[in-house]
């Protein structure tokens, strides 16, 4: 009883990847897992939502069309304000990134759901994709001028030896911080939720005297749940806006 109970309450179990369908290509395990399943769900929901919103195409928008257009305007304004008008060529990418993460995070808030973005491999892949685009486009557009990114204009020459290593290190720390921020936020938040919820149940099981404390723990879980919704939206926004900031560096390296 105790053992089984502990397994349910184990806060790490929710991150376990479980194979749904086996798939091996050339000795590489590409199985369709619960992670893939929930990723597919998120992508399907994004396409269904925005596809419906776009298919309406009415001059006086319906409610869903209006929300879809608000999402469009929100991301477009974000890209335009951070990366300028030229940044709009990356608008579809930022839009995809934002809503991919946003839907993944929000799906993760549902009980029993798997949070795609709570896996470092996913966030790291997305962060590396962003950095690859920044570096690739930066050199493509500016040539070696892209390296001016590491030498801030206006700084006196004698602090350059100090400044340039800092700039280079901070540039290469970007994919790390970008991926870890999202990963750690989603992971820690879900562990906390599970801990408080599990704690509440454990306390109820421990005896009548602990029930008031159990309510306290439960209340804490409810509060954390609200906070986690905020974090889920905020982290998607942070990821997207930092992507815009980095893309701005590729578009205008001399800052």
């Amino acid at each position: 009883m105790d053992l089984q109970f502990r397994q349910i309450a184990d806060p790490i179990k929710q991150f376990e990847v479980v194979k749904w369908f086996d798939l091996k290509v050339g000795g590489v395990d590409l199985s369709f897992t619960n992670a893939s399943g929930f990723m597919l769900l998120g992508v399907t929901m994004v396409i269904a939502f925005f596809g419906y919103a776009a298919s309406r195409g009415q001059l006086v928008p319906s409610r869903i069309q209006s929300i879809g257009e608000m999402g469009y305007g929100f991301v477009a304004d974000m890209v335009r304000s951070v990366a300028g008008e030229e940044g709009l060529k990356f608008f579809p990418f930022v839009f995809t990134l934002f809503f991919f993460i946003f839907f993944a995070n929000m799906i993760g808030m549902s009980p029993y759901a798997f949070t795609t973005t709570s896996h470092i491999i996913v966030t790291a892949a997305l962060a590396l994709l962003v950095m690859a685009i920044v570096i690739g486009y930066g050199f493509y557009k500016n040539g070696l001028g892209f390296l001016k990114l590491f030498a801030p204009s206006g700084a006196p020459w004698y602090i350059m030896p100090l400044l340039m290593p800092i700039e280079i290190i901070s540039f290469f720390a970007r994919p790390l911080t970008l991926s870890l921020r999202l990963f750690a936020n989603m992971l820690a938040g879900h562990i906390m939720l599970k801990l408080f919820a599990g704690f509440a149940v454990t306390l109820v099981g421990a005896g009548a005297a602990y029930i008031p404390v159990a309510f306290l723990a439960f209340g804490m879980g409810v509060a954390l749940n609200a906070l986690e919704f905020l974090v889920a939206a905020l982290q998607a926004y942070v990821f997207a806006i930092l992507t815009c900031v980095y893309l701005n560096d590729a578009l205008h390296p001399a800052h």
Partner: protein
Amino acid sequence: MSLIALAADAAANSGEAPVFPPFETWHFPSQLFWLTLLFGGLYIVLSRMILPRLSATMERRGDHIASDLDQAARLDEQAVEAQQALELRMAEARAKARETANEARAKMEDEIARDTAKVDADMDEKLAEAEARISELRAEAMANVESVATDAASAIAGRFGVKPSASDVTSAVKAALN
């Protein structure tokens, strides 16, 4: 990232029973594969089909609103023009009415003056006629008075035994009467 993978490997091989799932490596290829497929698919569907449609709708709405505003401005201008034209015509009509009234008044005054003049002339003529008659009558009367006075004076002088000549009496009477 290889550092994380290494750490994960180390954790996996250390013999600890429950490995932290995000650091398990066996699902990395599958995760990357499905992420590439799904994220790429989402990107293509959004950028090729959905986002252009959304932006087209929003653009169309923006154009529509702009053209509506244009039309409203045009109609407003037309209304102002019509108002001005109306005011102009009102002023014209008022001026014309004033002119007509003035003309009529002048014509009436003219007529009145003409009539008055005619009546005045008539009256003057009649007055002159009457005066002529009066003076005629008076002259006649005076002549009668003279002859009567001459006769009376001759008669009175006759009583006194004097017999003046007729011309003397006449001249004396004339002097006395005038």
